[in-house]
């Protein structure tokens, strides 16, 4: 089934379109547009590998019944653990033991999409905007210095 592999084709095409724009367009801002499209291709690949069929977004969700039971049974017990934690101060190594495994069943890995590529791509998006800012700053200085943003004219003036 090709539909399941479509994202890979599209990410290849996006990266090629971006590279093509960076290689063949003469206006520097067009080249920056190509760079952003190229980055998007890479991000699309990572997020596509993270997806799972019939899976939830990566936020752990407990059934409502379980939450209600936990609130009732943990009510005074919870205060105790918090007080003890405050007096001990800092040692949080044993804090998870306050969560009973019976009350809080562990999340199943197959029920949630893979969160790790999402984290990496959050970083990539922010760094991409930082790159864009510096690139545009350099472009503005080039415009002030050479009076043009045409690649060929700039190369001519550099000679």
């Amino acid at each position: 089934m090709t539909l399941e592999l479509l994202n890979y084709y599209v990410f290849t095409a996006l990266m090629l379109v971006g590279l093509y724009a960076m290689m063949t367009r003469r206006h520097l801002i067009r080249k920056v547009v190509g760079m952003m499209i190229f980055q998007t291709g890479a991000i699309l690949f990572f997020i596509s590998t993270a997806a799972k069929v019939d899976a939830d977004i990566p936020i752990v969700r407990h059934a409502p019944v379980v939450i209600a039971e936990a609130a009732e049974t943990h009510d005074d017990h919870d205060d105790d653990t918090h007080g003890a934690d405050d007096t001990h101060g800092g040692d949080d190594g044993h804090d998870p033991s306050g969560h009973g495994d019976a009350d809080h069943p562990r999340a199943k890995a197959d029920d949630y999409v893979n969160p790790l590529p999402h984290v990496l791509m959050l970083t990539a998006i922010v760094v991409g905007v930082a790159t864009l800012g510096v690139a545009l700053g350099i472009i503005l200085r080039i415009q002030e210095h050479f009076g043009t943003l045409d690649e060929d004219e700039i190369l001519e003036k550099l000679r």
Partner: protein, 203 residues
């Protein structure tokens, strides 16, 4: 995740990307890039990456479009005639070859020198290599370890806290670089800083 919606959005994305580099006016190109960012946010939301979707809508589609438009305003919108680059034919052919190689590599399982090279896993496969090795640990233990139901937040701010902290350093460096390059605060308004003016007058 809906595979059909995903296919539709992703093809729309590709069309917008091609349009963004084919239009003659630069302003149109930048606005199409903004639309591209918002379609991208929809793709992420459909694939279950809600945090990435928020970030893309705010940062990728919003702020970067504003950046480019602001730069365009100061540069003045004079677009060169497209299609005059020396690399057009050669670059196109080279990139087509690269694309064909990539497509061949990822579309089917093939055998190279007796070793089986598997194709990329289908979108949404639960047994893909990315989902099998280390990621189940984070999904199962994030709430215990970090007391946050949102696993992405737990990994970002807890497991990989140093990474995120130093990323602010990256953004700070980029901001400082932009300010220094643009010469903001030299008391000259939009003019170049004194050093650049000396350089211009000497050359």
């Amino acid at each position: 995740m809906s595979l059909y919606l995903n296919s539709l959005l992703v093809l729309f994305l590709l069309g917008l990307a091609i349009l963004a580099i084919r239009t003659r006016r630069l302003f149109t190109s930048v606005v199409i890039l903004g639309a591209f960012g918002f379609v991208l946010a929809l793709v992420w939301a459909n694939l279950g990456a809600v945090d990435v979707s928020f970030t893309e809508a705010v940062v990728g589609a919003g702020i970067s479009t504003v950046f480019v438009l602001a730069a365009l305003r100061r540069v003045g919108e004079r677009e060169v005639e497209p299609g005059a680059s020396r690399f057009q034919a050669g670059g196109g052919v080279a990139l087509l070859c690269l694309g064909l190689v990539l497509l061949m590599a990822k579309s089917e399982t093939r055998t190279v020198d007796g070793h089986e090279v598997p194709r990329l896993p289908a979108i949404g496969a639960k047994d893909s290599p990315a989902a099998r090795n280390v990621s189940p640990y984070y999904i199962e233990h994030a709430e215990e370890d970090a007391h946050t139901p949102n696993i992405v937040t737990a990994v970002l701010a807890d497991y990989r806290g140093y990474d995120t902290m130093l990323e602010t350093g990256v953004v700070f460096t980029a901001a400082m670089a932009s300010i220094l390059i643009l010469g903001v605060g030299c008391g000259q308004g939009n003019g170049p800083p004194p050093a650049a003016r000396d350089e211009e007058s000497s050359s």
